[in-house]
Amino acid sequence: MTGGRLHPFTLLAIAGALPALAWILPAPAGGAWTATVALVLTLTPGASPGLTSTGSSPGWRPGLVVLRTAVLTAAPFWLFLLLLHDVPTTIAIGLRITTMVASFVWLVAALQPARLVEAMVAAGWSASVAYLLAATLSAVPVLKARARRIVEAQRCRGLSPGGGIAARLRALRALALPLVLSALHEVDERALALETRGLVPGIRRTPLAPPPDPAVEQAARWALLLACLFALFRRFV
């Protein structure tokens, strides 16, 4: 049962349920339990850094990397909480944030976007919804690289990004506008590409490699949902 082979929806369910339970269950015991589970999850083999694509060999090492990312992301919150609140509140909120951070960092490591897109298509989601998420995910690095290239190109024709606030805001305009205008200009070509390659409304898209979704996992997802609802019911009734 490694993170890598679970159905994407199961990964999402777990990563959603743990933080929900952390907030619903009475503090600090609830938070402590969920935080521990989340941190242990990050150690599960196969939780290779899917999205952060830092490359990984199976075994414990990637798990430690994921755990370290989770801890490093959660740590500053504890510091700021101490700054603002007394100790019991800090512990209560800190455990909840740690649960959320750990479960999401694990999700990001375990979830491959291609499998999520295939799962959405196989589950009958419209191809357009899957397109929105996946296309944004792949467009971000492309436009970020373009933004860096534009900053370099504009500096090579004399633009100084420094100076006073007014100078920096003018520089911001000379750097942001080219990025936005060139990206907007390409919307038409992207639409033409989608049209010519068949992504038109109302199609029955063939899932390429739909991840297996065994009944036990589907049951587990419903169980998690019921557990959260039950805990919510008990907490407020």
Binding site: E186, D188, L192, T196, L199, R205
Partner: protein
Amino acid sequence: MRSLTLESASFWYPATEAPALREVSLEVAQGEVVALVGALGAGASTLLLVAADLAPRVTGGRLTGSVARGDRSGIVLPTPWTQASGMAFTVWDEVAFGPANLGWPTHEIARQVDRALEQLELVPLASRDPATLSGGELQRVIIASILAMDPGLVLFDEPAAELDAEAARALWRLIRLQAKEGKAVLLATSALDALPDVADRVVWLEDGAVRAIGTPELLADVAACDAGLGTSVASVWWASGLPGPYPLTVAHALQRWR
């Protein structure tokens, strides 16, 4: 069998008075490569969008005259980075994007994708993330993605622009192969020197209208050279003041010279 027939087709882009195409009549048969040449703004790109049924349906604008298509068409536009689907995280999935949208069974998709990858010499890149490819590599992936949909009419707009010399030569060979396999190919390019080996016919467009249609020898006529549309060898002959007809290629020049 005729794959594409245009009869006095005229087209206006939205909110513009001057037509981008004026009364264009053209037929492209299966097994034939037809090249569109002309100065910037002569209408080659517009003609390809009309042939691909993207103009006016997606671009907006107004079309008069008639356009008849015998086959499904696929178009390769000149900017590969805007053509990637954005839904694929490996080259294999990118090439399979079109066929999957057509709803083909998975074994048929696999067969078409593997064939397209071989034709474009992309098999070693099959599991790479498209975002990590160079401009030339991504252009070959986009071409494979269109061919994998097995279109009867294949349209190319400046396909060699992003390619280096070796990849461009491989592309010209591939285009000839598509015609041999019975596809109709309509191609806009400014690589005039490649056309004698690639195109069966050449269409000279000027201000949206057809100025001339003929075999690649057209690119050695005085009129073409005057307009800067002669092949390099013909243009040198034309500039030298020697009498015509001008040789089309280096090989022709060699025959003439002995």
